[in-house]
Symmetry: C2
C-alpha cells in the first residue's frame, strides 16, 4: 500500500517520518517553505503542487509523502507565518500595550505575506504556533480582571479586526492580479461608478458623508484609533475620563 489510510488525523500530530524506508530528500518544512516562497512572490494562486515540486526539483507526487492534502499545506503555511511572532521574555504588565503590540505584529506579518488574509479562514486554529500565540496573549491579559471567556473574546476581536482591516486593504490588489487590466484602472472605474451612483441622489446620507470627508483619513491613524477603541471597550472601568480625544496612541514596537 502506497498511501496512508484515510483516517481522521490532525496534520500537527502526523509524524513526519517512520524510520523504515530510504531517507526522505526533504523535510516537511522544506515543502512548506517552498510554498511560502512561491506565495510571497507570485500570490497564493501560484501555489500548486506541480509548482512546488518544480521549485524543489522533485516529482509532483512526492510531495504527498510530506503533506497528505493540499488544504493541510495551507494550515502549515499559516503556522509557518505565525512562527514570525516575536515575544519578549515576559508580558510588560500593561495588557493594553501588549495587545497593541500583538495587533501590530499581526498586521506586519500579514503585510509580509499578503496571501495570509486569504488562507487564514478561521481566526485561529490550534496549530503549534497558534497555541504559542494564544498562550502568550493570555499571559498578557493576566492583569485584566475579567472572566476567562471574555479574554478569549478580546483576543478574537483584536485578531478579527486586524484581519478584516488588512483583508480589506488587500482584497482589491489580490483581485487585480488576475484581471486583464491594471489595478489603477480597476480602482478608477469602480470609483467612477460609485461617484455616479452617489450623484444620482438616491443615497443622500452617503453623499453627505463623502462631501464631509472629502479627503479620506490616514489609514494608519484609522487603524490605531480603531484598535484603541476596541481595547477601550474591554477596559473594566470604561473609557471615560483619562483618555483624551486625540490622546496617547500606543505606537508599535
Amino acid at each position: 500500500m502506497a498511501g496512508r489510510a484515510a483516517e481522521p488525523e490532525v496534520i500537527w500530530a502526523r509524524p513526519e517520518r517512520a524510520g523504515r524506508g530510504p531517507r526522505p530528500a526533504f523535510s516537511r518544512q522544506d515543502v512548506v517553505d517552498a510554498a511560502v516562497r512561491i506565495a510571497d512572490a507570485d500570490g497564493i494562486d501560484a501555489v500548486s503542487m506541480r509548482r512546488i515540486a518544480a521549485d524543489l526539483g522533485c516529482g509532483t507526487m512526492s510531495l504527498y509523502n510530506y503533506v497528505p492534502r493540499k488544504e493541510d499545506l495551507y494550515e502549515l503555511m499559516v503556522d509557518a507565518a505565525s512562527a514570525e511572532y516575536v515575544f519578549p521574555d515576559r508580558p510588560s504588565g500593561d495588557w493594553r500595550a501588549d495587545m497593541t503590540d500583538l495587533a501590530y505584529q499581526t498586521r506586519a506579518i500579514m503585510y509580509r505575506h499578503p496571501w495570509l488574509s486569504r488562507v487564514m479562514t478561521t481566526a485561529y486554529g490550534f496549530s503549534p504556533n497558534a497555541l504559542r500565540y494564544l498562550e502568550w496573549s493570555l499571559g498578557c491579559l493576566t492583569p485584566l480582571d475579567v472572566p476567562a471567556g471574555l479574554k478569549m473574546q478580546l483576543i478574537a476581536m483584536v485578531n478579527g479586526t486586524v484581519m478584516a482591516t488588512v483583508r480589506n486593504e488587500q482584497a482589491m490588489a489580490e483581485r487585480a492580479r488576475g484581471l486583464p487590466w491594471s489595478e489603477a484602472e480597476e480602482q478608477a472605474v469602480r470609483g467612477a461608478y460609485l461617484m455616479g451612483q452617489v450623484a444620482s441622489g438616491r443615497y443622500p446620507h452617503l453623499a453627505a458623508l463623502l462631501a464631509e470627508a472629502a479627503a479620506p483619513a490616514d489609514p494608519e491613524e484609522i487603524f490605531a484609533l480603531t484598535l484603541s477603541r476596541l481595547l477601550d471597550s474591554f477596559t473594566p472601568t470604561g473609557p471615560a475620563g483619562e483618555r483624551g480625544d486625540a490622546g496617547e496612541r500606543v505606537t508599535p514596537a
Copy 2:
C-alpha cells in the same frame, strides 16, 4: 467578434442586454439565482460554470453572455444575498438598537448562505445592495454625533465582527465538506489533539482558562455581549454607569 473587449468595467454598470440579436433565454439574475441555489445546497465549491449551465439547461459557454468572468459571479451572488436585508420605513431613532438589528440580520443572512463568509472577501464593495445597506446604516447613525469617518468605522467594525464570528463558526463545517471523514470525527480528533497539547504543561495559561471555563459559554450570548461591547465603545459618553453587567441585552427583531 463574439466576446466583448476586455475593458475595465464594473459588473453593475454592464448593461444586461443590447437589444440587437435574438432575445436571451435567461436573465443575469437567473444565472445568479442558480449559482446561489447550488451554493446553498452543495457548498460554494460545487458552483462551477458547467454545473450552473447543467442546472439551467443550457450550454456552459452561454453563461458568458450574462457574466463576463466567474469572479464577477461571486460579486453578484454577494449582492443577491445583500438584497435580503429588510429595512423599516425609517430608522427608529435609537442607533444602538438599529445597529444591533442590522448585525443580527447580517448574521441571519450568513447562516442562510454559508458560502457568504468565504466569498465576501472585502467588508463591503459597492454593489447596489451594498450601497442600499450603507445608506440605511448611515441613516440609522444620524443621531450619533461623531465625525463621518467614525461612522464608517463603526459600520465596518460591526460588519467585521459579525463576519469574523460567523466565519469562525462555519470554517470547520465548510472544511469538513471535502474531507474523507465526518465533521464530528474531525472535531473529535482536533479536540483530542488540543487536550493532549494542553496536558503537556507547555501552556499553563491556556490550561487554566480551559479549566475555568470547562463548559463553553453559549455562543448566542457571546455574540450579543460582544456586539453590545463594541457599540459601547462608540458611545460618546462611554459605557460607564447606565449599563449593568448582565444588563439589557438587545434582542434580535
